[in-house]
């Protein structure tokens, strides 16, 4: 039972991170129907920026929660800036192009960013400091659940709730929903579509950065390649839940996290990624619109 609970919580933590990254995929896809292939790289850049910021700040004498928060804020700002810039360079000029063009551009961007970090930093694994503190009240159950896992789960829940409220009630959130439904109509009604798209990239990137900082602190090491696998898996999560749907992304993330956790716990740890990709293929074949997605037919 305890082993089961450990796997359950491990899957929940992992799934929360997938959910945070998947939100960015799902929001971008919902609005401009593009798989932002470089999204995983934004997450990686978030983790790297946080590591660099934390190293510099700890030289200045900072430590504890203030270090975590400050490094996290810097990572979020930089990731958002990267997301904004990538959209302007690689996707915006291709708004009217053929379907495959932005996707290929996105793949190119992803390869570029990976190698940019590889060349500017290092190809080795860097150890990431444990920024999340150990809580005293978690002591009795620390063999099942670590403090960092609790922080990850709570932060993800908070981010999701805030995002939902933001999209439901704020002016720009409403503009986002309008753009997702019908871009031309939204434009006619005075919505600045370019601004909405930029905003979507900024929010998605910020969430990815939060995920990057938390999971790096939890696992303890990063390298330039972490974004690729995380990106693919988060995309799997987004598709699983129904791409374009925000609750779907969270649900998909959690299901994927649990699948991986239980599969590695009870079957074999060698095939962790095979289960994730297998699940993706399975879902796309039998329910391409995802669990919470609506099936849409092509209009002629």
């Amino acid at each position: 039972m305890e082993y089961f609970l450990e796997l359950f919580l491990g899957g929940l933590t992992r799934g929360s991170i997938y959910a945070l990254i998947a939100l960015g995929y799902t929001m971008v896809y919902g609005i401009i129907e593009l798989i932002n292939f470089a999204h995983g790289e934004i997450y990686m850049i978030g983790a790297f920026t946080a590591l660099i910021a934390a190293s510099v700040l700890s030289l200045l004498g900072l430590s504890g929660p203030s270090l975590l928060i400050l490094a996290g804020v810097i990572a979020v700002i930089y990731s958002s800036a990267y997301g904004y810039t990538i959209e302007k360079i690689a996707y915006k000029p291709l708004r009217q192009a053929q379907r495959l063009s932005p996707l290929i551009s996105a793949i190119g961007m992803s390869i570029f960013l990976q190698n940019y970090v590889l060349l500017a930093q290092t190809s080795d694994f860097l150890s990431f400091p444990a920024l999340i503190p150990e809580f005293g009240f978690m002591e009795p159950i620390s063999h099942i659940m670590q403090s960092s896992e609790l922080v990850i789960i709570v932060t993800t829940a908070l981010c999701t709730i805030l995002l939902t409220l933001f999209i439901k009630f704020t002016r720009i959130g409403k503009a986002m929903r309008a753009t997702a439904q019908d871009k031309t109509m939204a434009m006619l009604l005075g919505v600045n579509v370019n601004r909405v798209v930029s905003m979507t990239f900024i929010i998605g990137s910020a969430l990815a950065a939060v995920g990057g900082v938390l999971i790096s602190s939890h696992i303890g090491q990063i390298n330039f390649y972490i974004g690729f696998i995380a990106g693919i898996k988060a995309f799997t999560a987004a598709v699983l839940g129904g791409i374009g749907s925000i609750p779907g992304a969270v649900l998909g993330g959690l299901i994927l996290g649990w699948t991986e956790s239980f599969a590695t716990g009870y079957v074999s740890s060698d095939y962790e990624d095979v289960f994730a990709f297998g699940l993706l293929v399975f879902i796309l074949i039998f329910r391409p619109s995802g669990i919470l997605g609506k099936a849409s037919s092509e209009k002629v």
């Binding site: 660099i52 063009s101 390869i111 570029f112 095979v274």
Partner: protein
């Protein structure tokens, strides 16, 4: 608006325009200095965890982005102007016309090229020939993927999986049963085609971008299985001691083997070019292109969508299987590390940069992308960086690639009306 373009009226003075252009570039430059600051300037050394400040990089970024932003805006403006005027007479068409109107030049060129290709291994060292062989392998891979991506418009990001199937089928057949290269070559190609059909069958109902991700997933699954299924594929340590191709039982030295393989490659590339160019104008080839342009219209014209897509997938996989066999025979050692996603990305960028759908474009693309980094060793670590950047830039500024495929016009010549009844 940092990337915005100067939209002021022409009445502003020249000096005013220069100032405003410079101000825009300055803004871009400042923005990139901010953006690249943590990654480019600060480096954490992994071993002793000290921090290295590299302020000179900031200077290069500032200068570089300042001037690149001028070029970016100029190209953007040019692209917009081109979009408004329907002027398609570019250099490529002119050369094409000239070649057709003067067959003498064309034939002489072909003969010179043929002689150069034949003499290549005798004029250059064995090392150069090896490089040429791998470039030719990528030409074949590019032409194979071109069927899937360029003609049929199916974005396959797991193409390397079929390459792996070809390589492993030869390696395993050779290891267990001692099968020779010439026996394994058709088997490897057939197995890859079979894999193409088996993998393609369930996923080809999916829309373009989903297909891309699923094929990527399949590619990774195959690599992970090869890495972990030790009993079957010998895991990460791979398979060594694969036989080289034989020539009627004649003993060959290592150097002669290289030359022999070079000629095999030349023959196979010629075969590929012949098959692909014949396929393109065949019934199925026209169906692929039509399907790429509009699926719904295609179906309403009575084209079987699934079967057409599946043929493209299987035929593309066949070439990958062939090249896989050659790869195993060339290196005599394979392991799963040769079949990562990066390999798929390189092949895809060959197709994209060369020009989707164009045979000459793909050949030029493969030669440029594979030979250039080999001869510019000093820059070889920047290879993937440049690949990524050029994929973005090509998509933004020249989506048809270096050489675009010419639209073929078909005309009906009825024989004195009898076909028309």
């Amino acid at each position: 608006m940092i990337f915005g373009v100067n939209m002021q009226s022409k009445s502003t003075s020249v000096a005013g325009r220069i100032v405003s252009e410079c101000a825009q570039s300055l803004m871009v430059s400042l923005w990139f200095m901010f953006l690249t600051f943590p990654i480019m300037v600060i480096r954490i050394k992994p071993l002793d965890r000290t921090i290295e400040w590299r302020w000179d990089n900031l200077f290069y970024i500032a200068i570089g982005s300042f001037f690149l932003s001028f070029i970016w805006r100029y190209l953007m403006k040019k692209k917009r102007d081109q979009g408004s005027s329907e002027d398609k007479e570019d250099w490529q068409n002119r050369i094409g016309l000239k070649m057709r109107s003067e067959p003498k030049v064309y034939i002489t060129g072909m003969i010179v090229l043929g002689i150069a290709v034949t003499l290549f291994p005798h004029l250059f060292s064995s090392y150069q020939t090896q490089i040429m062989i791998s470039a030719l392998m990528y030409v074949m891979l590019g032409l194979g993927l071109n069927i899937v991506v360029g003609l049929a418009g199916l974005l396959d990001l797991g193409y390397v999986a079929f390459y792996a199937v070809g390589a492993y089928s030869y390696a395993l057949l050779n290891h267990h049963f001692g099968l020779s290269f010439w026996m394994a070559l058709p088997l490897g190609a057939a197995l890859a085609a079979l894999f193409g059909i088996v993998l393609g069958f369930p996923v080809l109902r999916l829309r373009g971008d989903y297909l891309a991700i699923v094929t990527l997933g399949f590619g990774e699954i195959i690599r992970l299985v090869l890495e972990n299924w030790n009993k079957f594929s010998f895991g990460p340590s791979g398979i060594a001691g694969i036989s080289r191709p034989s020539l009627f039982g004649i003993e060959l030295t290592l150097n002669q083997h290289t030359i022999y393989l070079y000629y095999i490659m030349i023959c196979l590339v010629l075969l590929t070019i012949l098959v692909v160019s014949r396929l393109r104008h065949s019934r199925i080839g026209r169906a692929w292109i039509a399907l790429r342009e509009d699926e719904v219209a295609c179906q309403s014209m009575g084209i079987d969508k699934t079967r057409t897509k599946l043929t493209a997938f299987a035929l593309g996989a066949t070439w990958a299987g062939l090249v896989g066999c050659i790869f195993a025979a060339k290196t005599t050692f394979i392991n799963p590390a040769s079949f990562t996603f990066m390999e798929s990305a390189i092949i895809l960028s060959i197709v994209v940069l060369g020009g989707m759908g164009s045979i000459i474009g793909v050949i030029i693309g493969a030669l440029v992308l594979i030979l250039l980094p080999e001869y510019l060793r000093a820059f070889s670590e920047y290879r993937m960086l440049v690949f990524g950047a050029s994929m973005v830039l090509i998509m933004v500024f020249r989506p048809q690639g270096i050489i675009s495929s010419l639209k073929q016009h078909y005309e009906f010549h009825g024989q004195s009306g009898e076909d028309l009844g």
